[in-house]
Each structure stands twice: as structure tokens, then as C-alpha cells.
Amino acid sequence: MTDSKGKRNGGLGRREFLATGAAALGLGVTGFPAVLRAQPASVKVGLIHPVSGFIAFSGTQCRAGAEMAIADINAAGGIKSLGGAKLEAMLGDSQGKPEVGASEVSKMVEGGVHGIVAGYSSAISLATSQEAAKSMTPHIVDVGVSDQIVDRGLKNTFRFAPGYGTIAKFAVDNLAGINQMSDDKAKTAMIIHEESLFGTGTANLLQKKLPEIGIEVLDVIKHANPTRDFTNIVLQIKSKKPDLIIPANYYNEYVLLARTMRQQQVKAKGIYSVLGGAASNYKFVNEFPEAAQGIMDCNHWFNPKSEIALQRKAAAEAKGLVYTYEVFLAYNAVVALADGFERAGSTEHDAVNEALAASTLDMSYMPYGPTKMINGQNVGARPVNTQVLDGKIEVIFPQAFASAKPVFPMNS
């Protein structure tokens, strides 16, 4: 192409003009060198996150993580099977609205995107993956924990992180394990959850499974977003005196809940949050070291024994980022997509989707089992349990990844 550009000054022959014109229009010309088509100058990766609106914090974190992955992959030589083609980010803002997310997808598809990493929220991920499915554009859901996302049979939609079905199962199994190790076992629990998809879905599953491990659920309290005051809820906790308090809510509400529990001097054997808990959030631990002490969490986390994971964490922190789960899950999603391009040796949608469906990506930097995709879901994905101990977030369960022993009851 540079060649023809050079010629343009000297005047193009009619034939050359037609050929370049057609190529520029993207029509593809028979006899056009195949190599050129297989090796795009860059591989376009669409990143669609809610960087404005109500969940802007999480969206911004996701975008930062994904951009870091793109920079790292490019620095390491790009997609090698495509002659070292570099990844190029196309950025989209869903504003926290599914319909805006979907329209960003159609824009990117038209802009020739080769793969999309999107969502953060489940509602938005449902809309973006479905829109991408119309053109079979490979779509990786970075966070969205709803299992409906992968249950629809879309052939272009993949998730490498665990969904809430898996997370709730492990939350209960791990809790059973921790309880087993303790002399002072928890027998009762109260679930405090936010009212949308992730909190309600998680709470429903927990409510079903906790009795199976001998923990009676005394009450389930669903609250609105935002809840301006948690005193009422905490008063109910105080009057029911559960051994375990299980919150499943967003950061703002979690902070208010934790603060109110301290004001009202709630004593429980443990606070065991499931997903979105602030006890796997460095910001919370740094701002409220005392309130955070001893809180346990079952959430997305990295493998603290992996050098790669620690390096990535250090790199993110060097950029001034708080290393939350949004950052590394979005990072992983980009890595998984890049691996799909790499193994497909092409940016053809079908080839990449096939490669992704057969992915066995080495994710040893996560506390996962071997990567295996079933219906677009990585069934090796797992959450872990963390606990805040002396101002640090430690992995306490499962033992293979543990960096500390659980302290339970939390004040013992």
C-alpha cells in the first residue's frame, strides 16, 4: 500500500487505481496476497466498560486492567502467529446501561473489531455478548458473574472467571472446611445482600446450601442500592445474634455496613462476605484497618504464590491503581483473547471462537484448576477465601494457595 501511495503523486494507472480503491473499500480482490489478509497491521480489541455512571469505579478499574494487558502483550512481541501483530484497543463506555453497551458493540463491529472484552456488570454483559453474537465476534466476559451469560448457548461468548454458581458452591465448601478446623464452630448465619442480580442470586444459592453444612440461616435481609443507613439492618443482626454475618453487596454499602457494625458494637464469630466484599479490596483495608481486621471473603483473587501474579500486582500498583479483582479479571480476559488469536493464527471470527472454545490457557497465576472450556465457561475457575490479618489480605483457603492460616472465630 505504501507503494501505491508513493505512486499517487506520479499519477495512478487505471488498473492500479481500481485495485487500491477496492482494497481500501475492504471489498477484497481476488489475487490479493493472502499473507496480507492474514496479517493485519494490528488486531483490534474492543474494551467496553461502564467508565461513567453509577458503577464507574469498577468500570475504570476494568479498563485499566485490560489496557495493561494490551501493553504487556505488545511489549512481549504481539501476536506471534500473526507476524507479531500488535493489539490495538478500541474503547467504549457503556455508561452502566445495557443498551448503550450493545450499541458500542455494533459500532466496534462496524469498525472491524476482532474481539471484545466487556461487561463488568452481568446485565451489560448479557446485552453486549448477544449483540456480538450477531456477527459471531469473539466476546470475553471479564467479570459478570451471572450464569445466564454462558447458559444461552452463544458460540462467541466466553468467561474465564467463575460465575456465581461456582462461587457460591465454593463459598459454602470452603466455609465448611474452615469451620471444621475451628474449635468454636459457627452454627447460625445471617445473609445481608444487595437487591440486584449478583446479590440476590448469590444469596439464593447460599440460602439453599448453608443448611447442608449444618449452618442454619436465621434471616436473609435484602437491601436497596444505595441504602443510606444501615443501622436498622445492624439492629436486626444484633437481635438475632448470628455466629456468622454474610454480606454480598457493593463497595459503598459494604463500607457503611462495616462502619455501622462497629458503631453498634456487633459481636460475631465471623464476617464472611461473598463477592464484592471489601475484605478483598486493598482500599478498604487501608482506610479501615481496624474495621477490616479478621473479615473473611470468598471472592475472585490471584494466586499469591505465583511470581507472575505478584509482578502484575506490583506493576499495577506502580501505576497508582488499587489492585482490585476488576483489574486482574479484565487483564486475564485480554490475555485469553490474545491467546485465542495466537492459536487461531488468524483474526477470522469463527477460527478465534473455535480456538477460544478449545482453550487450555495456562492460568497458574490464578488459583484455578486447569483451563477447560465447557459451553464457553472455564470450568477450572475458582474463587478463594481471603482474610484480613494485621492489615494484610491473606489467602486462607484452599490450602494449596494459602498464605496464612484462618483465624476463626475472628477475635480469637
Binding site: S52, T231, Y251, Q264, E287
Partner: protein, 304 residues
């Protein structure tokens, strides 16, 4: 029996322990006082300018950020900020009304609605750009201090907010009753033409009223932040409830806003207790609808 499944949760979330009713009501009163603080400014604006200020939540958020930065950058206690933030907010309100809102209204309700909506979008997203989307909290020596009342723990910041709401309402009442400005505002609220005929500068007085309303938000921000957080969208959670209170109390009535706030606080607490925290929010709106239908001038309906 624990409630099982969504349905039983819908019917009733287990009878609450009676012993927590008193603490719950107390808490409702203190939370309600915070709502009243936000509503005071709104009721003034509503009563005088007859406008629905959609930017109220966004301006509250600005006030909260002001307190946050004064506290974290300069170590100024949020209660000392009471000397700084409300005057600044007053000036901002004055300029907004005189420079933009008044000018854009062209005497039409729907234009004011649009302008305040546009302003709230601008302010919230500027905040997102400059302050980032992080949730921010301040740490004060008294954040976790509590006072024991009737066996209930009431956090100190909430006690201060409760008192602050009464003082603010009282000051506003005094200002409206005893000062020339107050008289001018009341005259203008009643009869614009007559007021301008006797030489009241309507644009100036409108802007003063708007400024005062926004200054109230400054007070609310100083008293709210010690027990709350700030993020670019934080104000939206207070707008609807503040409107509810304004209407319940009678538009333009400070006493009404105060009592309406306390009332809504208690309703919220009790319906949360008996219906569950999520469904319980319905209590506020159900009461709102009923009051509006059967007593459209509000519980204490009279004008400024």
C-alpha cells in the same frame, strides 16, 4: 422458621424483635434529620421559585467533595467547614440562578426542568473527571463514638446532624420572618407582579433564595459526611426522598420539611423492619402518594 425463598420474603421478613423498635425509631429520627437538612434547601427553592431543582443532588455532592478535600488536604474538621462550605455554596447558587437558570427559564416550567437536568449531568460528570469515581470517606476522631440513649447506641455524628437540622430550620425561619430579605422573598413568592411594583429586584431576590437553598446543602454536606461517603453519584440517592419530604411538609414550609424529614426517617426505619429493607422502601412512597391524594397541600400545608 427462617423465611425461605423470595416469596416469603415478599410477604413479611419475619417479625422483628420488639426490643429493637426503640433503637430503630431513634435511628429513624436521626437519619430523618439528615434528610430534612437536604430538604430544607429544596423547600425554600420550591416555595419561592416554584421550580423543581433536578440539580439538587449534584450540588449536594459538590458540597460533600468540598468538605472532603478541606478535611483531607487541610485537616479542617467537617464541623469547622460549616464556616466555609455554606457561604461558598451560597455564592455558587446565586451565580447559577442569576447566570443560567433564571436566564434559561424564559418563564416556562419545562425549561427550568431541562436546565437543572442539564446542569446535574454536567456537574456529576465534571466531578467524575476531576475527582474520579472512587468512593471517599473521611476519618474523624468521633466517627465511631456513640451516645447511649434509652439503651440504644446513637453515633455522635448523627446526634450533631439532628441538632444541626433544628438549628438550620430555626435560622431560616428567623431569616424569613425578621429580615428585609426574608420579607422580600415572601412577597415575591406570593405575588411577583406586586412585589416588583413596590421595587423588589426580582432577579436578585430569586438568586438570593436559590443561593440560600444551596447554602443549606452546604450545611447538610458538613453534617452528613462524617457518617457517610462521597462519590460523583452520591447525591442521586437523596433527591427523591428530599422531594417526598418537601411535598409532605408542604412546599415552602421549613417546619414542614423538618417534621416531614423526621417522619419519613421513622417510616423508613419501621417499614424496613416490618417489610424488609428492600421492600420497605415502598412505605415512603405509599405514604407520599396517599398524602398527596388526600391532603395535597402536605401535612402542614401553608406557604412561605
Amino acid at each position: 422458621m427462617p423465611p425461605s425463598g423470595a416469596f416469603s420474603q415478599f410477604i413479611v421478613s419475619a417479625m422483628p424483635d420488639l426490643a429493637i423498635i426503640i433503637p430503630s425509631v431513634l435511628n429513624g429520627l436521626t437519619t430523618g434529620a439528615l434528610y430534612a437538612l437536604v430538604a430544607l434547601g429544596l423547600t425554600l427553592i420550591y416555595g419561592v421559585l416554584h421550580i423543581i431543582n433536578f440539580a439538587h443532588g449534584a450540588l449536594l455532592m459538590l458540597g460533600l467533595y468540598a468538605v472532603y478535600y478541606l478535611n483531607t488536604r487541610f485537616g479542617i474538621d467537617p464541623y469547622v467547614c460549616l464556616l466555609i462550605v455554606p457561604p461558598v455554596m451560597f455564592a455558587l447558587g446565586y451565580v447559577l440562578q442569576r447566570g443560567i437558570i433564571g436566564r434559561a427559564s424564559h418563564g416556562r416550567d419545562e425549561n427550568i426542568l431541562l436546565v437543572t437536568l442539564g446542569l446535574s449531568i454536567v456537574i456529576e460528570n465534571l466531578a467524575l473527571f476531576f475527582f474520579k469515581s472512587d468512593t471517599r470517606i473521611i476519618d474523624t476522631p468521633y466517627s465511631f463514638e456513640v451516645i447511649q440513649i434509652l439503651g440504644a447506641f446513637v453515633p455522635e455524628p448523627k446526634v450533631f446532624a439532628f441538632l444541626g437540622a433544628f438549628v438550620t430550620a430555626g435560622l431560616l425561619w428567623a431569616l424569613m420572618t425578621f429580615t428585609d430579605l426574608g420579607r422580600a422573598i415572601r412577597a415575591l413568592a406570593k405575588e411577583r407582579k406586586g412585589a416588583t411594583l413596590v421595587g423588589i429586584n426580582a432577579d436578585h431576590v430569586y438568586a438570593m433564595s436559590f443561593g440560600l437553598g444551596i447554602a443549606c446543602l452546604g450545611v447538610a454536606a458538613c453534617l452528613l459526611l462524617p457518617s457517610y461517603y462521597v462519590s460523583p453519584q452520591v447525591g442521586q440517592g437523596f433527591v427523591l426522598i428530599a422531594f417526598t419530604i418537601v411535598v409532605l411538609g408542604g412546599m415552602g414550609s421549613f417546619v414542614g420539611a423538618l417534621i416531614g424529614g423526621l417522619f419519613i426517617g421513622v417510616v423508613e426505619a419501621l417499614s424496613g423492619l416490618f417489610l424488609g429493607e428492600s421492600l420497605g422502601q415502598i412505605g415512603i412512597f405509599a405514604i407520599f402518594i396517599l398524602v398527596l391524594i388526600f391532603r395535597p397541600t402536605g401535612l402542614l400545608g401553608h406557604k412561605v
